[in-house]
Structures are given as C-alpha cells and as structure tokens.
C-alpha cells in the first residue's frame, strides 16, 4: 500500500482518537437537550458548561463571554455583522486587512452593500499589517478593527499586543480571527485587549462544525441567529453538545506547550529541506512570528496544481494558491497582497504539519518534492531560471 503523508493541516486536521472517545457518550447516552430540566438535560448542560469553562480559561476570558457556534465562518460572520448592526448609529466604519480569510472579506463586501464603509489595510512582504496605516485610518466613525491572528496561507502571526494597544487608545473594539493560531501561539484576550475572537475546533484535532466566539462583556452586539434563547440569547439553536465536548477535549490536548516546540522544529526542518531545492523561495516570515505548523513555497518553473497532483501521486497531500487550483481559477488574494508576482503565486504550494507529523514523514515529503519538482521542470519549456526570474519575478536570482 502506498503511504500517505498529510501536509494539509491548515485545511483541517484528523480528529484525535481521544476526542472521539470523549464525544461518544453524548450521542447515545447523555443525549439530552441542555435546555431540558430533567436528568438527561442537566447532564448535557453540565458537559456544555464544563467545556465552556475550559475554553474560556485557555484564552483568559470569563466563561459567560464564550458563545458556541458552528465554526470559524459563523464566528467571523457573527462578530462583524453583530457588531456592525448593533453600533450603526455610533459609526459605520470597520477596518480590516487584505489578508483575511474569505469569510471576513465576503462579510465585509456584504456590509459595504448595506452602507458600511470598510478599510482594507496593506501588509508588507512578510504579511505584517502596517500599524501606522491602522492608526491613521481610525476615525470617529470606526467601531471595529478585525485582524486575522495567524494567517492561514503564509503563517504570519500579527503583533496583537501592539494592535490591541492602538485599538484601546482610540477606543475601538478589536476582533481577531484566531482559527489558525488558537493553541499554536499565545492568545490572551486580556493582555492583548481583544474584544472579540473567533475560535474553531477542526484545526486542532477537534470535530468539524463547532467553534466559539469570544465576546467581551462590554461589546454592544446583536445576535444574528434568533432562536430559543440559547447561549444567553446571543446565538439561537440547540447546542451541539457532542461537538462542544469534543472541542473542549481537543483544546485540552492541544494546549501542551511541548507540541508547539515540536511542530516548530518539524516546520523548520521542512523549510530547510525544501528551500535547498534550486530556485525555491519561502513565502511569509521565518521564526517565532510564523505559525508553528505552516510553510509556503514558490517553486520556480512549476505550476502549483500540477505539483500538488504530482505530490499526491507520491502520497504527499498539500495545497496551492495557484489560479489553476481546481475549481476556482482564482489566484490567492493573500499572496497577491504580500506582493508576489502572478508567476510566483501560480507556483506556490502550502505545506502544513500537525503534532502528529513525524520527522520521517518530513524527510519523505522533502525527497518526494525534490523528485516531483525535478520531473515537472524537465517537461517545462521554462528553463533559463535566472533570465526569466529577472524578467518575470522582477528580481535577480
């Protein structure tokens, strides 16, 4: 049987068997509705609240500031729209960045159609937000700043402490999409002055379809999903109890600092091995300001989707920002925002590891990448790397 090395953990992760074990009883034994007052309902309620406590503790918030959701997309929609509509008499301006996840950008686009004004901040070559531009763009109309914590494509971890300070000085709320960074770097809502934070479970070996939005007590907010008063009237709908229990278990297991150290080592081994291949560049920053599980490369003369398939045929599963990537034919807006040329974007590949990735798997992935790149370059008409690099990439090799 061919082996399989999964390097697409930024897309989603394997559910930890311990998480599955923790969830199981809540399907067929403690299956009550947390709103019911009988024994089964009370069991479900207790499990939900214990999970809430654990997640609150992990970000240094209060338990009643945690609202369970169906995941990252819902959390981000809820944060932006919930704050925008609750405060539209105060101001209709929101500041975000050009490197947000699509669910933020598309929510913003929709808010614009509803009469809100959105500012999209630039980032530098490594994906860091221009802090001066942030400060200069805050006006009396600004109610919310929304900035992604750990970038999903290039791994940039924003300086939330400084961003939080700026937001506090100007008295605007700061929301952060922490779906990728949660448990992979510190997220302390008090220390960073964060007013809202989007979390989810399936990026950290929890189940899909569950997440949470942290909403600080003072944030004026309207619910988006109206229902039977669940989540203190902030999000209607019967709680996904097995999912919530699994989420909390996943957070418990992921919160071991040793995982970060280990993943960082693996990531750096991968980056070192891949960038040894000729004409390969790393996209995004190096070191501690990069997510410990993320690597992203441009392979000169090799198209991203083609490389992805060639790697898949060797059992290595990755992801690409290329316009050719499968269904969309849309280039990565993130790689564009950091100033990559179309050629570099079309040659990009993301490799994201997990705490389960082994050193041997990294070696295998490096070897197979070298092989696939060589094979594809052999049939490519683009040969003179240095000349073309100068012309197309706008830099000398």
């Amino acid at each position: 049987m061919q082996r399989s090395v999964y390097l697409d953990n930024a897309a989603t992760t394997m559910v930890d068997p311990e998480v599955i074990k923790a969830m199981e009883p809540y399907f067929d034994r403690h299956y009550g509705n947390p709103s019911s007052i009988h024994q089964l309902g009370r069991e479900a309620r207790e499990a939900t609240e214990a999970s809430r406590d654990r997640i609150a503790a992990s970000i240094n918030s209060r338990a009643d500031e945690i609202v369970f959701t169906s995941g990252g997309t819902e959390g981000n929609n809820l944060a932006l729209k919930g704050v925008a509509f609750a405060n539209r008499k105060k101001g209709k301006h929101i500041i975000t960045t050009k490197i947000e996840h699509k669910c933020i950008l598309n929510s913003c686009e929709w808010l614009e159609s509803e009469g809100f004004k959105i500012t999209y901040l630039d980032v530098n070559r490594e994906g860091f937000v221009d802090l001066e531009q942030l400060e200069n763009n805050i006006t009396k109309e600004t109610v919310l700043v929304s900035i992604i914590h750990g970038q999903n494509e290039i791994g940039t971890i924003q300086d939330l402490q400084t961003i939080g300070k700026i937001c506090k000085e100007h008295d605007v709320w700061l929301h952060t999409d922490a779906c990728q960074s949660y448990t992979k770097t510190e997220l302390d809502v008090k220390k960073y002055n964060i007013a809202l934070a989007t979390l989810n479970a399936h990026k950290l070996h929890g189940p899909k379809g569950v997440g949470a939005l942290y909403i600080r007590e003072d944030v004026e907010f309207v619910p988006w999903q109206h229902g039977g008063g669940q989540e203190s009237k902030r999000r209607g709908g019967t709680e996904n109890v097995p999912g919530i229990v699994g989420f909390a278990k996943a957070v418990e297991l992921a919160s071991n600092k040793r995982h970060i150290e280990r993943m960082t080592k693996m990531r750096d081994k991968l980056i070192e091995g891949i960038t040894k291949i000729e004409d390969v560049s790393l996209n995004g920053p190096r070191g501690s300001r990069r997510l410990c599980n993320n690597a992203n490369f441009s392979f000169f003369g090799v198209e991203g989707e083609g490389l992805g398939m060639a790697l898949e045929q060797e059992g290595v599963l990755t992801s690409t920002g290329s316009a050719c990537s499968s269904r969309s034919l849309e280039k990565s807006h993130v790689l564009k925002a950091i100033g990559l040329s179309d050629a570099e974007i079309n040659s990009s590949t993301r490799m994201s590891i997990s705490r389960f990735t082994t050193e041997e798997e990294i070696d295998y992935a490096i070897e197979k990448t070298e092989y696939a790149v060589k094979k594809l370059r052999a049939i490519s008409p683009i040969k003179k790397a240095k000349e073309v690099l100068k012309n197309v990439f706008g830099k000398s090799a």
């Binding site: 003369g301 090799v302 198209e303 991203g304 989707e305 083609g306 398939m309 060639a310 045929q313 290329s322 316009a323 050719c324 990537s325 499968s326 269904r327 034919l329 040329s341 179309d342 050629a343 079309n346 052999a378 049939i379 490519s380 008409p381 683009i382 073309v388 197309v392």
Partner: protein, 122 residues
C-alpha cells in the same frame, strides 16, 4: 475531478520533450496566466507529422492535454491535424472539468502555430 486517463497522461507523459531537428514549433500562454505550452513538430515530405512533442508549464489538465494532443496528431497529415478541435482532446481524456477546457484549447493553438511555423519555413 480528473479521469483516470487524464491522470495517466499527467503521470507518465509519453511525448514530453524537445525535437532537436524540429521543422516547426509553436508556443502559447505565459507564466503569469498559469500555463505555457510549447509544441515541436517534425513533418516529412508527404506532410505527415512524423513526430510531435511538447514542453508544458501548467496544471494537470495542461500537461495531460499536451500529451494527448501529441499522441493524436502523430502520424496524421497536417491538413487533418488542422481540423482537430479541442473537444477531440477533451473526449480523448475522458472529459475535463469545464474550467479546464481552455487548457486543451491552448494545446490546439500551440500545435496550429507549429504548423504555421513549418509552412512559413518551407
């Protein structure tokens, strides 16, 4: 999303490479758009394509379409080759996702350019 046949062409292309003594070449696309296909042809005195080879920078569909194109054009007269349509390649590959049809169109264009080049040189 790709057929077994398309994947096989991608994995083991039979006609990748240059023809050193080609008497016609055609190239379409650019790196910025995502695909570059270059076709080399060797035409004999009777107007038959004795050899057809390709070099492609591109996605799975572009590489598979290039290889299928060479296979289909080989041994044919240039007049017949000029009648080839992109649909023929899509069919040969057992279908392609509609967003990838342009890859086969580019292959046909590169081949036709190579034939034009050959006619000019003659």
């Amino acid at each position: 999303m790709y057929s077994e046949k398309a994947l096989e062409h991608f994995k083991n292309p039979k006609f990748a490479g240059e023809i050193k003594d080609a008497n016609g070449t055609g190239e379409v696309g650019n790196v910025a758009c995502g695909d570059v296909i270059k076709v080399y042809i060797k035409v004999n005195k009777k107007g038959i394509l004795e050899d057809v080879r390709f070099q492609t920078y591109g996605c799975v569909a572009a590489i598979a379409a290039s290889d299928a194109l060479c296979e289909m054009a080989r041994g044919k007269h240039i007049d017949d080759v000029l009648k080839m349509k992109y649909e023929d390649i899509v069919k040969e590959l057992g279908g392609l996702p509609p967003v990838k049809f342009h890859c086969s169109v580019m292959g046909i264009q590169a081949l036709k350019k190579a034939i034009e080049d050959y006619k000019k040189k003659r």
